[in-house]
Symmetry: C2
Amino acid sequence: MKYSTRLSDAVHIMAFIAIHQEYDLSSTVIADSIQTNPAFVRQIMMKLKKAGLMSSVNGHAKPSLAKPTEEITLLDIYKAVEGNKPLLHLDTHTNPDCGVGVNIQLALQDYYNEIQKGTEKHMSSISLQDIIKLYYQKSGQAENIVKVQTN
Amino acid sequence: MKYSTRLSDAVHIMAFIAIHQEYDLSSTVIADSIQTNPAFVRQIMMKLKKAGLMSSVNGHAKPSLAKPTEEITLLDIYKAVEGNKPLLHLDTHTNPDCGVGVNIQLALQDYYNEIQKGTEKHMSSISLQDIIKLYYQKSGQAENIVKVQTN
DNA sequence: GTGGCTGTTATAATTAAATTTACAGCAAAG
DNA sequence: CTTTGCTGTAAATTTAATTATAACAGCCAC
């Protein structure tokens, strides 16, 4: 399949909203920045909304974050758009008549779960605010602009 | 796309070889355990071989591990079969005319790299021996059988 | 030499994802 | 109260990474 870029796109959307709170932000405007189409943006936005990370009103092009950027973590966004999809995937099609096949996968599962937990812990330590701060560093803008635009 | 199960299958193959060193292990026999086809098994085995994790002789159905199971890590196997494929994927199709789009993805990349490094460190701490040990626990067999079969 | 295997390539089928189209319903403007 | 543009949502299509399959040259042991 294609690689999923939902997490990246969702962060993009959230950051875009945080940075441009003063403008009208239709799904079309956001889609133009991601270079995708509005329906896809709306699909992701609905997942973020259902996860309690942003809010919006039907027919009204003014989405807003539901919490301060410091309180939204990368893990929150990951869970919102990817659900419980793990990073590593077992092969669940092994031969059930082969004890080795089944039990090796069961053993692997324990280690995959451990890895997943570690990664999620790491993701929960990164906030949207951290990402936006780094974004401003990357784009060479002054730090005080961050404060103006995210309040 | 489909989810990649190459890592799981590669571990399966390595463990299978470690556990059944006394038998002839044609790609067909191994494929039967994973319930896939021999050519796919051979493709993965070649990657493991090129990474220096196992050895085999053309025309001879007796593959063997190139190192003791304690010295082969999950990261070694991951790198062998997935190369530098990351776990999280940036959206590289954002609008280049939109500064936000580009710089948000650049900021994200730094955090993704950090996460990747953490995960790889974790994977490098898990050995094939660990997985095989847990496999024997899962299949309810005595620990001493492990020693007989992996020496 | 024969049979069975590995190593290798090329092609098809599968599957998860993104894209696109479509439309019902809401909100604000006139 | 009608128009316009938007959101929310579902369905159908296209794209892309993967697995599956087929084919065959070359090696090994008998």
